[in-house]
Each structure stands twice: as structure tokens, then as C-alpha cells.
């Protein structure tokens, strides 16, 4: 359950960005997570909700989107995205090599954008 500490880090960044942009209200935040990063979206949503309850961020929407796993074949360099859950022994579609592919994407964990209310007054 590292979603709780991930939600804490997420909120720290959100608060910083809101201050920077002088916005009083967060409408939504978009998080992208790689398939290998073992984020359970529901657990992250629960943590996010628990940590924002009764704060200025209460009611903000958390959107998550998984980034597919992309491997590069170590034998021929072909990039491919294994279909099945058996991605450890995913054979290269071009040459059949099974072992030692490098991970091109799928380890990410980042905020893509925030949707903020315009600053009031000023």
C-alpha cells in the first residue's frame, strides 16, 4: 500500500502548483502511471480522498491513466508492447527473442496536468 505515501507526495506538488498559479481551487488532477509501477488506481483514489477530505482540496477529481509497457528487443531492437500479462517472457514479434528486453516505457509515475479554478479577485 504505497499509494498513501504517493498520494501525500502528489498533494504536496498540487499545493505548490496552486500557490504558484494563485488558484484557490483544484478541479481535477491527471496522473499517469506506467504498467510496471504497481499503482492500484482505486487505492490511490481512496488515499487521495482520505487526505483531501475536509481540506480546501475536498471534492477535486483524480484521473489516472496507465502507460503501457513498451519493450525494446535486446537482439534486434524492435520495440513492442506485450499483449498478455506474461510480459516477462514476452517473445519479440520480429525475431522471437524472449530474454533481456529493455523497458522503454512503463515505469513512469507523474502528474500530467492540473485543472485549476481561475484566481479570484485581484
Amino acid at each position: 500500500m504505497h499509494e498513501l505515501s504517493i498520494a501525500q507526495s502528489l498533494l504536496a506538488i498540487i499545493r505548490e502548483e496552486m500557490q504558484k498559479h494563485g488558484s484557490p481551487r483544484l478541479i481535477s488532477v491527471k496522473v499517469r502511471h506506467g504498467r510496471l509501477s504497481a499503482i492500484v488506481p482505486d487505492a490511490l483514489a481512496m488515499s487521495f480522498e482520505a487526505l483531501t477530505m475536509d481540506t480546501a482540496l475536498a471534492g477535486a477529481r483524480l484521473d489516472t491513466e496507465e502507460i503501457p509497457l513498451v519493450l525494446a528487443c535486446r537482439a534486434c531492437g524492435t520495440k513492442f508492447s506485450p499483449e498478455s500479462s506474461d510480459y516477462v517472457f514476452a517473445p519479440c514479434p520480429a525475431c522471437g527473442e524472449e530474454l533481456g528486453h529493455t523497458v522503454v516505457s512503463g515505469k513512469e509515475l507523474y502528474i500530467e496536468y492540473l485543472e485549476l479554478d481561475e484566481a479570484q479577485g485581484t
Partner: protein, 218 residues
């Protein structure tokens, strides 16, 4: 108004981890992050290593495993410096906790710093703690498909220690299957089958430590 941010959510941890890397580089310390499920044998491997290499290296341990609260005492009994981190139920060590623990150690002249992470194969993989290498332990009682189930952990580790080989006759575990799974997403991972209990296979692990130590120049 939509604001593109594109910030790594774990950037705060990564920043302190980079500070630790700089600190360890300045002091010429080899830092190793040990990760496994609870009970795989991290503390036992440390006890063996600290004892057997005591005359070669000055070593210290940051103990983040709270499964048994006497882990720090167990490693301190070998004569090495040891600091226990209270993770307060956390499922992984953070770089800030390791930085705080470093302040309680005397780092001058230290050759190797071992960081024993919380027993967990998922969460520690996301949190760098300034280490030069991640090392994953897997015991043969756990099932040889663990690397397949936790690919990130094995993907980012430099070495895999397969412990408790003395129990191989009693369990359904194939060293070859486990090794192949581990190499599936990490062609370069070094694999060391050992029995900390029977003291078998440790020499290859020690040789790897010596080489890693030598590669980290003062």
C-alpha cells in the same frame, strides 16, 4: 484553466536520494539497498557478510526492517555500526529517513553501507535511497515465479541473492526457472544462489561486493 505540470510525483524522494548519492560519492562509500519479502534472510545475509568481511572492510547498516525489532541488535552484534529506523508502519524506506539515519553514523572511512529495507517486494522499488545498487533477496521457500509477479523490483536490481538453498530438497523451487524469470527483464542481473545457514555460495557474493567496492573509487 488547465495547467500542464509533468512533474514526477516522487520528485521529493528523488531529490534527497540525489543528495545522498552526492554525500556517498564524496565519502567514497558504496551504498547498497537490500530488498525482499519478510523473512527471506536479509538480516542473516548481513550477519554473515559483516562477520566474514570484517577484516577487509569498514561496514555499517541502516536497519529499516521492523518485522523483528532486534535486527539492528543482530547486526550490531557483529561489531558493525548499526542504526534502526522506525518506519512507523511504512511499507518502504524513504530517502529522508535514510538521510536522518546517516547523521547518526560516523561515515568517515566507511567502505560499505548496507540499507536493509522494509520487507516488501512492491513499494521499495519506487523509492531510491541514494544507493549505488539495489539487491533483491528471494528465498527458495517463496516460489520461483516471484520475479514474474514483481517485475519492477527485479528489473532495477543489480544482483539477486537466492537464499536458503539448503531447503531446495524440500520445496518445489527451480533455481533455473527463477533465474530465467529474473533475466527476462534484466539481462545483466547477477544471480547468487546461497545458503546463509549452511554457509554455501557466499564467496561469489563476496567477490561481487569486492568488485562493486573497487569500482567505487575514493
Amino acid at each position: 484553466m488547465q495547467i500542464p505540470v509533468v512533474r514526477n510525483i516522487l520528485e521529493a524522494n528523488a531529490r534527497v536520494s540525489d543528495d545522498l548519492k552526492t554525500l556517498f560519492a564524496q565519502k567514497g562509500i558504496l551504498a547498497l539497498n537490500l530488498m525482499s519479502s519478510p523473512g527471506a534472510g536479509k538480516t542473516t545475509l548481513l550477519e554473515r557478510t559483516l562477520t566474514d568481511l570484517a577484516s577487509e572492510f569498514s561496514m555499517a547498516v541502516i536497519e529499516g526492517d521492523l518485522q523483528t525489532d532486534n535486527d539492528a541488535q543482530r547486526v550490531a552484534a557483529t561489531g558493525a555500526q548499526a542504526v534502526q529506523i522506525n518506519t512507523e508502519g511504512g511499507c518502504h524506506l524513504t530517502s529522508a529517513q535514510v538521510l536522518a539515519a546517516c547523521k547518526e553514523l560516523s561515515l568517515d572511512g566507511l567502505d560499505i553501507l548496507f540499507i536493509e529495507n522494509v520487507g516488501n517486494l512492491v513499494c521499495p522499488a519506487e523509492f531510491d535511497v541514494g544507493e549505488d545498487h539495489k539487491i533483491t533477496l528471494l528465498s527458495v521457500t517463496e516460489g520461483d515465479d516471484k520475479p514474474e509477479k514483481y517485475p519492477l523490483m527485479f528489473n532495477i536490481s543489480s544482483a539477486l541473492v537466492l537464499n536458503k538453498t539448503d531447503l531446495l530438497p524440500y520445496v518445489d523451487f527451480s533455481l533455473e526457472r527463477a533465474s530465467n524469470f529474473a533475466r527476462g527483464l534484466n539481462a545483466d542481473i547477477r544471480i547468487f544462489p546461497v545458503s546463509c545457514r549452511a554457509r554455501e555460495g557466499l564467496d561469489a557474493w563476496y567477490d561481487w561486493l569486492r568488485a562493486a567496492r573497487a569500482a567505487k573509487k575514493r
